[in-house]
């Protein structure tokens, strides 16, 4: 086979050509553009080109007060919008030193974990659809609609939530939400058995996923990979456990990891994480403390001079909000550390040598959201 290092697409050898797995492609989860250099079916080089969904969030942050910037985080990674929203509120609270009442922390954990399950449904089932399995895609989205109904009941929106406020959450959870979540937990626990039968033992799914796109621990460290993609390679790094924030220390849940590091391992980690999230929600609902849902916070938050970096775990990995404030109402600089950005460029390391169809499988198993990369 030709040596990937020395080949580029202008080489005289006719068999090598470069293909645009471009912005508009059914398998690229949004407008991701992969420049794939191929020798027949074998991939020699993959170069992701990004920027097709760049909206200038960070420049907007320098024109908006902290409150006006609230809707933006949920539109960065719209699959785990609730987690980003709470993360941004947590970053500003850390900067201003605002204490969040325990009930609000519990509500944040419940809604974040529900959003994580919804995001994993899309991540895992889009991966399965990348391999041609349409039924799990329909099942996954159907179960996800239950979560969206629950969250829409209390927040009013299905995808891009602005539910968090500095110092707590906007409104309390209702009785229907409480009962609905209980019913949802029981229903979903029964459904995992169906997914197990439909996909996990499917010989085609296993043959297409096993030993495909193996990410070793060193490569993961070199590229700063975090999240389920990293946990599929055997490193149990999860910001909820390593740097406990919000109310997570009060729940016991474990971090599922797999040792193989291939596409199947990442898929299994996502499915196992859904069960862990269900445990967390159940424990949070059992011990939901009474009390206020928002701390006393001035209408316009003016944090002191200084900067702070607040890390939290989204469905795709370790997200970090770096906020530098100059003491005024408008942030001086907000930098969002997007996990998808680091997870994406692992492709350039692990894709050479696979077939083109495997590149789509690997890209699906890494599960990135494009606007989060381009911010």
């Amino acid at each position: 086979m030709l040596n990937p290092k020395t080949i580029d697409d202008t080489s005289i050898d006719q068999r090598v050509y470069t293909l645009n797995l471009g912005p508009q492609h059914p398998s690229t989860h949004g407008v991701m553009h992969l420049l794939v250099t191929l020798d027949g079916e074998v991939v020699l080089k993959v170069e992701p080109v990004i920027g097709y969904s760049h909206r200038g969030h960070e420049k907007m942050a320098e024109n908006r007060t902290y409150e006006q910037f609230l809707p933006n985080p949920a539109r960065m990674d719209y699959l785990s919008g609730m987690i980003f929203n709470h993360g941004y509120c947590m970053a500003v609270e850390k900067l201003c030193g605002i204490e969040v009442p325990r009930r609000a922390e519990y509500i944040r954990v419940i809604t974040s974990e529900l959003n994580r399950i919804a995001s994993h449904f899309i991540g895992a089932m889009d991966y399965a659809m990348g391999l041609g399995a349409i039924t799990p895609f329909l099942w996954g989205w159907d179960d996800r609609e239950h979560i969206l109904d629950l969250l829409e009941g209390i927040t009013g929106s299905r995808l891009t939530y602005s539910y968090g406020r500095f110092g707590g959450v906007r409104n309390d959870i209702t009785k229907e939400f409480y009962d609905g979540t209980r019913r949802f937990i029981d229903r979903l626990r029964g459904r995992f058995w169906d997914y197990e039968n439909l996909i996990n033992q499917n010989i085609i799914f296993i043959k297409r996923s096993k030993d495909v796109g193996v990410i070793t621990k060193d490569v993961a460290l070199d590229y700063g990979v975090t999240g389920p993609t990293l946990r599929g390679s055997g490193v149990n790094y999860d910001v909820r456990k390593m740097e406990p924030y919000s109310a997570y220390p009060e729940f016991n849940f474990d971090i599922p990891t797999r040792e193989e590091g291939d596409c199947l391992a990442r898929y299994q980690v996502r499915m196992a994480e859904m069960e862990q999230s269900l445990n967390i929600i159940e424990q949070a609902l059992d011990h939901l403390p009474p009390g206020p849902i928002r701390a006393k916070v001035p209408r316009l938050v003016t944090p002191p001079k200084g900067d702070c970096y607040c890390a939290f775990e989204s469905a795709r990995g370790a997200v970090g909000f770096y906020i530098a404030s100059d003491g005024s109402r408008i942030p001086y600089r907000i930098k969002v550390r997007a996990p998808s950005f680091s997870n994406l460029f692992v492709l350039t390391e692990i894709c050479p040598g696979h077939f083109l169809a495997d590149v789509i499988a690997i890209f699906g198993s890494i599960d990135v959201t494009v606007p989060e990369i381009d911010r």
Binding site: N63, Y237, C308
Partner: protein
């Protein structure tokens, strides 16, 4: 396990960094208040040594970003660990606008794209970079968006060093 003050690993990193770059200024920061444990303030020359030392101690490069303070830039590197109680080290480099910092891409492969993003938004040209071109903005764009001089930004004029 809550992050009680991880004295043991933090001390190791502090001592090793002190040996590697004696001229840098190390500060302990309270994690609960600012999100990182150790801040290293140094000049551009020492940055590659810090990166190599962090790579040897199995830290991963969380992000590279810059903050524009009109007369100078702050180039911010964040390192974090996978394994034991995670703690975060921030390397802060003060750059004058025309200075071309060294690239750390051969130590951390992810730095290739992180540095391209910093160049794309701030115009900071890294030396010895494999292909330093724009990554997010259109290739024929002639502006560096996140500079304070570009476009609309409301910021108070009395900017001294924010972080002191």
């Amino acid at each position: 396990m809550p992050t009680a003050e991880p004295t043991k690993p933090l001390e190791n990193v502090r001592n090793s960094l002190l040996q590697v770059i004696p001229e840098a200024e190390l500060r302990d920061r309270d994690y609960r208040e600012c999100g990182y444990h150790l801040e290293v303030r140094l000049v551009m020359r020492g940055m590659r040594r810090v990166a190599r030392e962090m790579k040897d101690r199995r830290f991963f490069l969380e992000t590279i970003t810059a903050v524009d303070f009109l007369e100078y830039f702050h180039l911010i590197y964040l390192f974090s660990t996978y394994n034991e109680a995670s703690f975060r080290v921030m390397a802060r480099v003060k750059l004058l606008p025309e200075v071309r910092p060294f690239s750390v891409w051969d130590i951390y492969s992810e730095a290739i794209w992180l540095e391209r993003e910093v160049y794309d938004f701030f115009g900071i040209r890294f030396q010895v970079h494999p292909n330093l071109k724009r990554i997010i903005n259109p290739d024929d764009a002639n502006y560096f968006p996140l500079l304070k001089s570009f476009g609309k930004t409301k910021f108070t004029t009395d900017i001294d060093d924010i972080l002191c």
